[in-house]
Amino acid sequence: MALLLRTFARQGVCISRPHCSVLYRHAAPMGTTAKEEMNKFWSKNAKLNRPMSPHITIYKWSIPMMMSITHRGTGVGLSGAISAFALAALVLPGNYPDYLDMIHSLSMGPYLIGLAKFGIAFPVSYHTLNGIRHLWWDLGKGFRIPEVYRTGYTVIGLSIIASIALASL
């Protein structure tokens, strides 16, 4: 509904114009909710043991697609890392500074430490910056394809720069 109103506003169409009444004249509300319809779809196809149509295996990958799944991947990864940390805090004996000293005593060398810091900083920066891009979309802005690519490249570039900067702190 909000999308409908937003698009009308963008096109400068006001509801009182005659052809807008076509909105509901030939629309018949269904008796089921979207959720029920989706469940019906999945249960029917699962019961008939139908295979899923190829989609990600055949469709040409694009930058926006890759950025989207990376946003999800970094989100799941970061969430998993936080959960693992919390679980470790509950289960493992001793305290945090001791564990840090233990890791530091392995004397990995500055490059490996820098790499590890980059490995932590990059998912955080990418997910944060792409998250801001998502919020920008939620405001309804930046949906034109060139804008999608422009903001996308900006997020990727800034993420790399921020991660390098953080890793060298």
Binding site: Q11, P29, N95, P97, I103, F143
Partner: protein, 158 residues
């Protein structure tokens, strides 16, 4: 939805002129002349749970969406606050915001990929358990150990 609007500006040829005047949810389609059996306009079936079915619709999903965005913005602001003003208050707020943001995020992933009533219920129960343990662990860490802000500072100083 926005993509449909943009499509009309991109495709100059071969687009049904009716398309330009079309609304988005209920597009009336004009049946070509050769189909003599159904000369009337086809009806688009729409889901009317939000606007038209005022009694049976609930705003829960929409409110959840908004809450997710508000939490995201809150979490964004906590970054600089944690950096410049670390404190136990910030530690516990960060624990809560991170856990909830992660809980809702993974919830969306499950909604996308898990289908079937029992599987959805099991997955969500598992997620709830995981998030509870995560929050408990983070609070325990804040109370009995150095706390989130200090932990990150120590980690980075090595």
């Amino acid at each position: 939805m926005a993509a449909i609007v943009r499509l009309s500006s991109v495709c100059r040829r071969g687009v049904n002129p009716l398309f330009y005047q079309s609304t988005l949810l209920a597009r009336p389609l004009v049946v070509p002349h050769k189909c003599q059996e159904q000369p009337h306009l086809l009806t688009a079936r729409i889901h009317a749970s939000q606007a038209l079915y005022a009694s049976s619709g609930s705003k829960a999903a929409s409110l959840h969406w908004t809450a997710e965005r508000v939490l995201s913005i809150l979490l964004l602001s906590m970054g600089p606050i944690a950096y410049f003003n670390p404190s136990p208050v910030v530690d516990y707020s960060l624990a809560a915001a991170l856990t909830l943001h992660g809980h809702w995020g993974i919830g969306q992933v499950l909604t996308d990929y898990v289908h079937g009533d029992t599987k959805v219920k099991m997955a969500n129960a598992g997620l709830f358990l995981l998030s509870t343990i995560t929050f408990a662990g983070l609070c325990y860490f804040n109370y009995n150990d150095v706390g989130i802000c200090k932990a990150i500072a120590l980690l980075w100083s090595k």
